[in-house]
């Protein structure tokens, strides 16, 4: 019995020793520096984790991103506990100056109005910004309301109450959505206003984009707003929205890219621009940008340089991955503007 135990222990130790030896022998590029950490927006998490996986495979540099929400990302990068933060709501230049942070966009996505009306396909329903605002304000209660039927002459709409779905948690998606509603609907601007959380006049709240998507799928005759990635992945029915130029556009990589190009980035100091209601002819009206925040004078220069190298990689070579995940890579002119800004601002 004792001999048996001794034999088993010896074999286990031997196996462990062999294991580590062979582990050291497999080809692994040397890690550049310690792990770079980031935190913030959940919107950007899918594409950031895909980018960091590809980047680690290529260069061995590990990037660790925690999607705790835009507010958390801003707080942590101000406190210096992470090397970069990601937020869907840009900070104003004076707040950036006070916190000693640089800010630049990294990816663009779209926020889509999704509906669950039996018999309706994607793109068949047309809505305008003011109508969307009135639906969310509880002023338009039924799908057969005149405001909706005049926009959709041939479409058969049920004579049922509209079940409104919004976010229950604070989120950058809500900020961009309510910012758009405030731009196009004066009743919304004077009512709930814009913010990561607002006092929704009506409707139920789902937790996260997944929660809203789940509710819209479950509840008949409902409407909600989700990031475009969720629409594509869950096969949801989206509505067309009328943009600032007066055209009804469907959400998609093309209309998001048009919005990103037509937005006036050059005129925004520290890229402090919310792109909703972009002016282009075929621009999708509710597009959202995620911004990266980094300290201008980093404490750990090596990690800051490693993070910048990662973001340069993402901006230059990350388009394929972004497209695959239904995000929109930034236009070339904007990428050049960002790289110049990083070189000038982050020492």
């Amino acid at each position: 019995m004792k001999a048996m135990t001794l034999a088993v222990t010896a074999t286990a130790l031997l196996a462990a020793a062999c294991g580590t030896k062979s582990g050291n022998q497999t080809a692994q590029p040397p890690a550049h520096s310690a792990q770079v950490t980031g935190a913030g927006s959940t919107f950007v998490y899918p594409v950031l984790s895909a980018w960091s996986a590809d980047y680690a495979k290529q260069t061995g540099q590990a990037i660790n991103y925690q999607s705790i929400g835009s507010g958390g990302g801003i707080a942590q990068v101000k406190a210096g506990t992470v090397d970069f933060g990601a937020t869907d709501q840009p900070l104003a230049s004076d707040e950036l100056a006070q916190a000693g942070l640089a800010q630049f966009p990294i990816v663009v996505g779209g926020i889509v109005a999704v509906v669950n009306i039996p018999g309706l396909n994607s793109g068949q329903l047309r809505l305008t910004g003011p109508v969307l605002g009135d639906i969310y304000a509880g002023k338009i209660r039924k799908w057969t309301d005149q405001a909706i039927t005049t926009l959709n002459p041939g479409v058969k709409l049920p004579n049922a109450d509209i079940a409104v779905v919004h976010r229950s948690d604070g989120s950058g998606t809500t900020f961009n959505f309510t910012h758009y509603l405030s731009q196009v609907s004066p009743t919304w601007k004077n009512g709930p206003g814009e913010g990561k959380t607002v006092a929704w006049p009506t409707g139920v709240g789902g937790k996260g984009n997944e929660g809203v998507a789940g509710y819209v799928r479950q509840i008949p005759n409902s409407i909600g707003y989700v990031e475009y990635a969720y629409v594509a992945q869950n096969g949801m029915t989206y509505a067309q929205l009328q943009n600032a130029a007066g055209n009804f556009v469907s959400p998609g990589a093309q209309s998001f890219a048009t919005a990103a190009e037509s937005a006036d980035w050059a005129g925004a100091s520290d890229f402090n621009l919310v792109m909703t209601n972009a002016p282009g002819a075929n621009a999708y009206p509710i597009t959202a940008t995620t911004f990266v925040l980094m300290p201008k004078q980093p404490r750990d220069k090596a990690k800051s340089d490693a993070a910048i190298a990662f973001f340069n990689y993402a901006l230059d070579q990350g388009q394929g991955q972004a497209n695959k995940l239904d995000y929109v890579p930034l236009p070339k002119a904007l990428v050049q503007q960002i790289e110049k800004y990083i070189g000038a601002t982050i020492k």
Partner: protein, 319 residues
């Protein structure tokens, strides 16, 4: 030279004292932790209480943009769902306990007992997902339209049962919560029913009692304090339940009489909004909500103790 008969061995006395100190320390630790938790929540919520005063408890507002917060809707949602869950769970649990101790054949008692205890082991988020994906559509398709049609038009209680049949809301959340707390109450009830002396029950049978009379005149009075303790254990679980409620309550800061409408609960509001609460006042309001939940739980437990004392005084203490 003869040792006194009263002198205990030295090591035994020391061990006893140490044991006494350790157990007293554990008990005091719980009290201290409780007091510190309550104090830290009250401290964290002081900005909200200073800004809104007593109005915080009576205000329906919840506007992060305007900076106006009020606890009425979360408190209402928490209390309504918990009380309704109790109303659903208590008869079912007592029934399960009675079935398992008295009525079921011996070979059936263990499997059903294990099944009920397994209900307690299911994580609450699974209850939430089941509630959202299975139960809510069932409610929306079959139960809520029926309630709207049959009970909606009635004069007084009609307002309680009218609303759009979306499936999520106070009623669905109460039913899911009720199912969640059944195992807690029935486990205690079953153990305590088993502990009723057989001689008492046999005497009742000899006098010609029915099963219901044995339950109501012998078993329940004998186990009164334990059953009420179990009920308030279940109530405590229901008051604090977060994930299951978040999925099926609807997270809407609306106060409405109708059970078919969505609402919000304290735990769900805190879980949803704490990470993105970016202003001091917002954060403080959420911590103040936590303090109010603590106060509500304390008041409910105090009411339970008082009720037990009164019944004890009227009917005599059993144990």
């Amino acid at each position: 030279m003869s040792s006194s008969p009263h002198a205990a061995p030295v090591s035994g006395a020391g061990g006893d004292r140490l044991f006494g100190l350790a157990t007293a320390g554990a008990a005091w630790l719980v009290l201290v932790l409780l007091a510190c938790t309550a104090a830290s929540m009250a401290w964290g919520g002081r900005l909200a209480f200073e800004t809104f005063g007593w109005g915080f408890i009576t205000s329906r507002d919840w506007d992060a943009v305007a900076g106006k917060f009020g606890a009425l809707v979360p408190i209402y949602g928490t209390l309504v769902t918990s009380v309704l869950a109790l109303l659903i769970a208590v008869p079912v649990s007592i029934g399960i306990a009675l079935f398992l101790t008295d009525i079921a054949p011996r070979w059936l008692r263990r499997p059903i007992g294990i099944a009920v205890e397994l209900l307690a082991a299911i994580p609450s988020i699974i209850y939430g997902m089941w509630g959202l994906f299975v139960f809510a559509p069932f409610m929306a398709a079959h139960v809520e339209p029926w309630l709207n049609d049959r009970l909606g038009p009635l004069p007084v209680i009609g307002a309680i049962f009218s609303g759009p049949p979306i499936g999520i809301g106070l009623l669905t959340a109460s039913i899911v919560l009720g199912i969640m707390i059944i195992p807690f109450i029935s486990a205690v009830a079953r153990d305590v029913f088993n502990a009723v002396p057989a001689s008492l029950k046999e005497a009742a049978v000899a006098l010609g009692s029915t099963r219901w009379e044995i339950l109501s005149r012998v078993t329940l009075p004998y186990t009164r304090s334990a059953i009420i303790g179990a009920i308030f254990l279940g109530l405590g679980r229901a008051l604090g339940e977060t994930m299951a409620v978040t999925f099926v309550l609807g997270n809407a800061h609306d106060l409405s009489v109708s059970l078919l409408m969505p609402s919000n609960s304290i735990a769900a509001a805190i879980a949803n909004e704490f990470t993105e609460a970016d202003t001091e006042l917002y954060r403080s309001s959420l911590i103040a909500l936590a303090f109010l939940l603590f106060v509500v739980t304390f008041l409910v437990l105090a009411a339970a103790k008082l009720m037990l004392m009164r019944i004890g005084r009227i009917h005599g203490r059993t144990h």
